[in-house]
Every structure is written in C-alpha cells, then in structure tokens.
Amino acid sequence: MSALSDNLVTFAILAYLVAMIGHAVEYALGNVRTRVATAAPVRELVTAGGGAAPTPPAPPASPPTSDRTAGRARLAGLIGVAATAVAAALHLAALVTRGLAADRMPWGNMYEFVLTVTFIGVAAWLVVLWKRQSLRKLGLFLTLVMVLLVATAELVLYVPIVPLVPALNSYWFIIHVSTIVFASGIFLLGVVPAVGFLMRNGYEQGKRSFPYTLAKRLPGAVGLERLTFALHAFAFPIFTFAVIAGAIWAEAAWGRPWGWDPKETWAFISWVVYAGYLHARATPSVRRNVATWIAVLGFLTMLMNLFGVNIFFTGLHSYGGLD
C-alpha cells in the first residue's frame, strides 16, 4: 500500500507536468494570435515573454485572425484543466493509500504535510475554476507550483511510514494539523492570483519588461486581486482557528498554551503578517499592490515555518521527520 502511494505520487507529478504543458501551450498559442493580429512574423514567437520586444498595448480582444489557432489554444487549456483534475485525483489517491498504510491521517511528517497542503491547494483551485472559468489561464502558474512542491516533497522530504509519537496522538492534534493543512493549502492557492495580480497590474500600467510580459494573457488585474483577497479572507480565520487549536493542544501536552517555540513563533509571525495584509487592504491610503506584496510575504513566512524551522531550528515540535 505504501509503495502504491509512492507510485501514485509519481504519476500525479507527471499529470501535473502534462497539465502545465497544456496550459503553457495555450499561453504560447495565445501569443501567436496576438502576433498574427499585429502582423508580426510568427517566428518571433519564440522570444515572446523574453522581454525585449515591446508589445502594443490592448491586444485585440474580438477579431482573431486565426480562429483555428484560438480553438487550439482553448483545447490546450482545457487539456491542462483535465490533466489537473486527473492529477488531483491521483494525488488524493496517493494520500488515501498513504493514510491507509500508516493507519492514521496522512500528515505525520513534512513529506505528508506538503503532500496534503498541495492537494488542498489544487482541490480549491478546481473549485475556483469551476465557478470562474475565465481564470483558466492562471492554471499555468498553479501547475508550476504543484510540480515544484510535489516533486520537492518526493525527492527531498520523502520518509517511510512511521506511526505517530504519543505527543502527536491526540484529537486536538488532528484538529490542529488538519486546519493548518487546510489553511495552508488555501494560502498556497492564494499566492497564485497574488503573483498574477502583481504581474498583471504592472502590465496594465504599461510595464513591458520581463516578468510583466508574462501577464499579457492573464485575466484582468481587478479580478485577480479580488480572488487573492477572497482566498486569504477565507483562509485567515481557519488559520486563526488552527493556531488556537494548536495552543489548546500545547497546553495539554506541554503545560502551556504558548511558549514561543520556533514553530509557534513563526506561526505568530505569519498570523501577524496576514493580519497586516487584511489591514493594508482595508486601508485606503495603501495601494493594492503593496497590500498584495504583504500577502506574498505572508506565504513566505509560512514556507519558512514549514521548511526553515523544521530544518534549521530544534524545537518541541517533533514533527519534521528529517533527523
């Protein structure tokens, strides 16, 4: 069962790769369309996104010169979505088999944790996509993130199955970790439109240098920003709850709800930074891209807590599984 889970992870990574390629093709073909419309040689395409060539603003939205290309781009995008769904199913199957093999929830160490967080992220993405199909092009960034994180999990963090130590064997632990995982997954997904917004916003303001040109075919900045906020506003209370549940568990296990252990400290930092994001977004004098940068920073602190703290610091959280 454990080996099956490992294989499923590999297949899921491959499926994410396929999805990423599908989305990338859609992106590229979308560029062709613009190029054709502006009567530029198709060959130049290769440099698209390379950054040098200034593109005329406001690509024609309605009359594509080549409907066939548009159709193909759409098809590639849909293949990307389908492959993402398949990958998510494989991903879920990998988690379920891992959990069955270990006879507990599959989040007992960093490997399992990352695997579960990324699954929540992709599942939430499919829900978002189902509601707003116009966001499909963000899929390229999402699948990229998935490939990177799931592959990191498999290649770097992998550990064989072991049962939990008694300190982790409590129902508050399950509540704490499941909500942390869930909130992290949504925050993870939130980073995708956040970064998309930062690039698209720059693009809409006329920036035509490298990362901004990537945003040419992204949905509008306003929508991306809204989605960013909606995801963070959704995840923040869950994260807050998770931290509180962690404190309740820590009280039972170690006799104090909060002890500024490195992991607790970084959870505090993340919480404060995300609170700062929500604040910044509600402050009229703070520009939206500044606020969005804070959200991205928040995610970096989450990553720091997940990877950095487990690897660099030793604390009470006997959770890393990397000794």
Partner: protein, 541 residues
C-alpha cells in the same frame, strides 16, 4: 475594500478654541498613533521583532542553549544579551511595540465603538435625492401594496427598515462592524488573559521516583525549578501531595514511544485522596493545578556496603541523554560512607561516589556507551568509583546528578576503578567494600502548573474567532425605495400610475451585491403577471 468609505473619522473636529501648541501636538500624535497606517507599521514591526526570538536561543525555553551560545560566541553573546536578544519576548523593545500597538488599538476602536452603538440605535438614513447615482439603480412599476408591502418584504429578509412617507430606506449587515469591534476588543482580552497568567500563575518542575518514600508535596522547596508569578506567594500554593505508584511505557520495535501512563496517588488537605492516571496529552487536572507528564527515565538502585559492613542504598534518578534508547547518566553519592563504627567518626576523605551510565538495553559487547532500546531488555550499569572528599560539607551547593569536578581536579577525589554491572551483580572494591546493582525504579519528569489566565484566554480566543468571521464575511449595504409619479408627458395609457425607483449602495466591497439587488427587486415586484396587468413596461428609465 471600500466602495464608499464612510467610516467615521477617528478624531472629532478640533474645537474652536485658542490653539494650544502642546495640546495640538498631543492631539496630532494621538491621531497619528491611532491611524490604520501606524497600526500597519506596528504590526509589521511586531512580526520582524519576533524573528530573533526564533533564531537565537531563548532563556525561557532552553537556558542551556543560551549558555552554549555564550561559550561559542564569547564576543557577540554579551552584546546581544544587553539588548535582550535572549529574552526577546520579554524585552523592552518587543513590549514597547505591542504596547504601542494595543494603545493604538484602543484609541482606534473606542470612537468606532461609540459610533457603532449610535449607528445601531439610529435608523437607516433617508434616500438620496438622485438615486440614479447609486451603484445599483432601477425603476419599476410601483407594487400594489406600495411602500408598506416593500417594507414587509424587506423585513422578512431581515433588513432594518425605515419608512418615511412614500420612501423606504433599509440597511443590513451591521454584523460586519459588530464583528470587527468584537475581534479587536477580544485581542485586548487575549492580552489580558496572558497577563493574568503570568501574574497569578505558577509552575514547578521536578522528577518523581516511584515509591512510597519518594512522594512529594506541592511546596516551593520540593521543586527543582519553580516559577511564581509576581502576585503569587509560596503560601498560596494549593496543598497536595503526589506519589508515583506505577509508570508504564510501551515502545515500538523501532524504539519510538507508543504509549505512556503514570499512575499516582493524590493526597493532601486541598485534594481528596485518590488514585489517578495521566499521560502525555492528558494531564492530571487538580483543583488549582495541572500535572503534566514531560518525560521519564530510570533510577538505578545501588547498594554500597563499606569496609565496616555498613550498607547504604542510593536510588537517585539518572538523567536521560536524549537518545532513543534512553541511555542515562547519573551519580550515586555516599557521603556518609566509611564511618568507623569504633569511633563513630566520619572520615571526610573516605566518602564514596559513583558516576554511571545506565543502559536499559546494553549491547552484547563493548563499548557499553549507548543503549539500544528504551526498555530493560539487557540492563547494565557502567560505573566509575571515586573516593575522597566530595565537597558537599563545604556548604557549596552541588548538583545531585553530577560529581563536583572541582574536587576531582584538585585531587581531593580520586578515581578508584570502573566496572560494568549487570542486574544483581556485585563489585568488590580495592578496600573490600562492595557495590551491588539491585535493579531500577521508574521516575517521571513532571511539570506542575497553574494558569488562571487559561480560561479567559480560551474564551477570548473563541470570541475573537466569531468576531473575525463576522467582520470578514459580513457585508454592510443599503437599499432605498421611493414611489414616484409616472411620467405624464409620455401620453401613454399608463401615465399617472406610479413608479418605484430603487437604489442600492454596498458600503463594503461586495461583488455579489448586484445579484442580491436584482433578487430583492424581483421579490418586491411580487408576481410578474400582476405587474404586467398594470401594463407598465419595465425599464422606464
């Protein structure tokens, strides 16, 4: 996030008095401090200030690591220490940031609280003159019931409704501001809960060896380490005693712990006598204290019989060294050894001590330095014998777990042999004295604590969460309805029958408002056929 940002100004307009420079300065600083921008900056500073607390070792968590740091970085450590870098969360600068933040918070929410109470009491404002300017606007035939019917529909949908003549104003979503204020207020309550805990709380740590003669009572002196909050006196500690009757630990084949259970007898004036079990994750809850199981280990029982035939027994706990196999180190000291029965004199230079490593599961062959498994599958005790003046009589407080190395260095204590003892084995020393390894007792590491802030903390966290959700998901919005006469200039048969103008205003970012507005308008219109019968075309705008 604000579509129409009409949050009341935090500061009332300055009174028309002679401007006083100092007052103006104070007022300005206060205004600055309580602004959202300042709050944002302080939040940010708080996050940044917490980072060293995770990077550098902290006294409150791992004092031994702080000492190590001093040894490793003799030049840096004292400087860092001076700025409180080893006690970040109690440092002046960290406290300054959060105290400023909470001052800002209080200054921010007090006026908002007042405004909100006022808003809750007041009625929705009158409709604006030109409703067409509102983000949502439509005109429809006036429903048969007129404004009364509209008000009814709105009330059913839990809007707060005010009818003025042929006008209806309604507002909904006060929950947002209520939740927001609740959230921010409970942040203050959280801080108070923490403060209560540190003022009125206490804690003590100690080891407890199994057995009747090893019971301890809850007094300050009985703890290896005790911390009493500034408002707690030793006499305030609840009176109870604990005895460890049994400790059970089970491990997986890999050595990973699987199950712990400590069985104790509780006793004492403040607690009914009873037997109780507790474990990791499920502490023993007493009336005004909780007992937590933090660790466990072995106390080897060693009998030393001196050359005069006098026996003494040591069963002091050996401390675990942190490995999976519970390799433990400790000391068995016999300061009263070798008292000559003829004279009754103690010989201060004939005291005995044994330092030892205890291996619950010793390997089959040397080196006998690391235990292979945490339970006693092949117990062995590796002892080093010392004789001399242990240095305890000089009144210098010595560790129970370590030999005083100064005495060894100065030659006052000399090593007289080493030996690996299996359970039940006896070792005869050079002077004819014997050492027997009789077996082991279990001991547990306990933390006994009382935190009177815990319950307030939990309650305020729950309120915080509820408030947060109200604030994030609540949406304040207004709608207005006004009956207007139909356009007589049109000359159509409908002229004269009245129309109803409807406007909607989301007061916070609310993408779904248009939909809600449309639904609301449809509901107000009531049944479509009736509207058609009256013959008015929709969209008379």
């Amino acid at each position: 996030m604000t579509v129409v940002d009409d949050r009341p100004e935090t500061v009332a307009p300055a009174p028309r008095r002679r401007p006083n420079r100092l007052l103006a300065l104070l007022r300005n600083s206060w205004r600055q401090l309580t602004s959202m921008r300042t709050a944002l900056i302080l939040l940010f500073l708080l996050a940044v200030a917490a980072i060293p607390g995770s990077v550098l070792p902290q006294r409150g968590i791992s004092p031994e690591k702080v000492n190590e740091y001093f040894v490793d970085h003799p030049d840096w450590a004292p400087r860092l220490d001076r700025i409180g870098a080893f006690e970040v969360f109690g440092s002046v600068w960290f406290s300054a940031i959060y105290l400023l933040l909470f001052t800002s918070l209080i200054g921010c929410i007090t006026p908002r609280l007042r405004d909100h109470v006022r808003a809750l009491r007041s009625r929705p404002p009158a409709a604006p003159k030109r409703m067409a300017r509102l983000p949502q606007h439509t005109v429809l035939p006036a429903p048969p019931g007129g404004v009364a019917a509209v008000a009814e529909v709105l009330r059913k949908r839990r809007w707060r409704v005010q009818v003025r003549g042929d006008e209806v104003s309604a507002e909904k979503g006060y929950l947002k501001e209520t939740g927001n204020l609740l959230f921010h207020t409970s942040l203050i309550a959280v801080l108070i809960g923490v403060a209560l805990g540190s003022w009125y709380g206490w804690s003590g740590n100690r080891l407890l060896v199994a057995g009747d003669d090893k019971a301890f009572c809850n007094t300050r002196q009985q703890y290896a380490e005790a911390k009493l909050g500034p408002r707690v006196d030793s006499a305030d500690l609840p009176r109870f005693c604990l005895r460890l009757d049994d400790f059970e630990a089970r491990f997986l084949e890999s050595g990973q712990p699987d199950y712990f259970n400590a069985k104790v007898t509780v006793d004492g004036p403040d607690e009914p006598t009873r037997s109780a079990n507790f474990s990791v994750n499920s502490p023993l809850r007493l009336k005004d204290a909780s007992v937590y199981l933090l660790g466990h280990g072995y106390a080897p029982v060693i009998r030393y019989t001196d050359r005069f035939g006098n026996s003494q027994i040591s069963d002091d706990p050996f401390l675990t060294t942190g490995d999976m196999g519970l390799t433990s180190e400790g000391l068995a000291a016999f300061p009263d050894a070798n008292v000559d029965p003829a004279t009754g004199q103690r010989a201060p230079d004939q005291q005995m001590a044994f330092t030892g490593i205890y291996l619950p599961t010793a390997p089959d062959q040397a080196p006998f330095a690391r235990s292979l498994y945490p339970t006693e599958r092949n117990p062995a005790l590796n002892l080093v014998a010392y004789r001399g003046n242990l240095g305890r009589d000089a009144g210098i407080p010595g560790s129970v777990y370590q030999l005083d190395q100064r005495q060894v260095r100065t030659g006052k204590v000399k090593e007289v042999g080493t030996k690996l003892l299996r359970k039940g084995e006896t070792w005869t020393l050079d002077d004819g004295a014997t050492v027997e390894f009789l077996g082991t007792k279990r001991y547990v590491t306990l933390s006994v604590r009382h935190d009177p802030g815990a319950t307030p903390l939990l309650v305020s966290c729950a309120v915080l969460l509820v408030g947060l959700m109200g604030s994030l998901f609540g949406r304040r919005r207004r709608v207005f309805f006004r009956v207007v006469p139909g356009d007589p200039g049109e000359g159509s048969p409908t002229s004269g029958s009245s129309l109803m103008e409807v406007g909607g205003l989301p007061r916070t970012d609310y993408p779904g408002f248009a939909e809600e507005f449309t639904q609301l308008v449809a509901a107000v219109k009531g049944d479509e056929p009736a509207a058609e019968r009256s013959g008015v075309r929709e969209g008379a705008e």
